[in-house]
Amino acid sequence: MEVKYILDIIYLIASVTFVLGLKMLSHPDTARKGNLYAAFGMALAIIGTILLYNHADGYTTREPIKIILILAAIGIGTIAGWLTARRVQMTKMPELVSLFNGMGGACAAIIGLMEYEHNLGKTGALATIIAGLIIGSVSFSGSIIAFLKLNETMKKPIRIPSYNILNTVVMITLILCGIFIVYTQPEHLLLVVLLFVFALIYGVLFVIPIGGADMPVVISLLNSFTGLAAAFGGFLYQNQVMLTGGILVGSAGTILTLAMCKAMNRPLSNVIFGAFGSGAAAGAGAEVNGSIKDISISDTAILMNYAKKVVIVPGYGLAVAQAQHVIHELELLLEERGVEVVYAIHPVAGRMPGHMNVLLAESNVSYDKLIEMEEINPQFATTDVVLVVGANDVVNPAAKTDPSSPIFGMPILDVENAKNIIVNKRSMNAGYAGIDNLLFYQPKTSMLFGDAKGVLSKLVNELKQM
């Protein structure tokens, strides 16, 4: 019996847990278990590698200092990763995923930098290394920019003149440099380091002009990039678990990216190359007719108290104001009085698809009260009151009626079919996509201005007194 076989079997088990984990993650009942299975497989693969891995040509040594360093690195990463993941607010989730994704990319890039010298003379291996290096670096710097943008450290999309041309030139240069290095195989590492830096710059250029609203798509795309980079590493080491893990994420991530684009009704190329809501598009919207109508908190309370059915449309603004818990209180209070209350969840509500579900689940809103768009849309006609909290673009009728609008064609929640629409907003500022919303000017719509948490708390108090 060979030690190598044991490691191979461990890798096989780990690969199976990854597939199983992903599969189980696609059902609400089994998702949590699936995640734990995959984590177990990962732990097995890591421990197995530390104890049993041996290079075919005998390069592998296990001096105590190296083992200590590896364990120390794992210890530091575990503590830091665990604490961040446990402490972060759920609204900050998307940027955290982006940050962790960047770490994986950086890891892949460093492997490429270190393996280059060992593989001089082997064209195939070098091509794999260089590809992994480029993709890992792009994923790293791109994820960091996405993180900063979601974090609002970097606020406005930055416009670079003739950006598309510049970007394409940089990308082609990057690929040509990669091919050049693989062919000439310079012994000195300098060129490879330059390539690394260049790839980092490309990652920055790639993400920097993209608006915050499109960031989830970008993160999902970079997620599959990192998967690909990991797979290149697996190819290099003939390591099956890295290969299956990486490719699985690469292909699953691509499908997920396309699903997100579909939900926003924008082709991927549009997200990457066509910056959103740029000057021309914003001005081209239809002319605004009618006026805004205010509603007081007590009138809102009365309206809701005597309604049969209330649909709440939550948006990211709700989460920013930390109003998830108050809205749940409102829901319970209305239910007590015999009002039917459900939530209408747009596929891209929040900052990522499904983000809003996570946020509402956090405040104990029951899973079966969250109704997806296709199912809720026909129900608006029989709804008495729609309460829109912190959402804007997902209820903008311009998506259906105004071909010049940048969100034209995006499926929206048909709230305008309801009898009364109450919109809670902080101010009249345009939504995340930077466009005006005709819904606010309709006669059926009333505006309830103010911070979501404050307004909803007052509403709850008002209802309690009725």
Binding site: A14, V19, G77, F100, G104, C107, G227, I247, M352, H355
Partner: protein, 103 residues
Amino acid sequence: MLNEIINFLGENIQMIYIIILSVFVGVEVIGKVPAVLHTPLMSGANAIHGVVIVGAIIVMLNTPAENILALALGFVAVVFGTLNVVGGFAVTDRMLEMFKKKK
């Protein structure tokens, strides 16, 4: 040139089988996910590509103990990889914890 490519493919044919089949498995497995689970799924997938840490450990094991620079780089790579793995799984678990049926 063509010769080289054919040789490369031939020598790695098993790996290529794995790649192609994994692509299909990935697509199939994800295809039917309800939108509610997109965020946890993305986060879970994010944790799985942390498997790149295995590569970082291999690099360190293959580096001579005297090569301090390489060991330092490898150390950083292992820290990054662990962050990806542990952070990824932990945050996914935290999200899914909330989906538990509450009565």
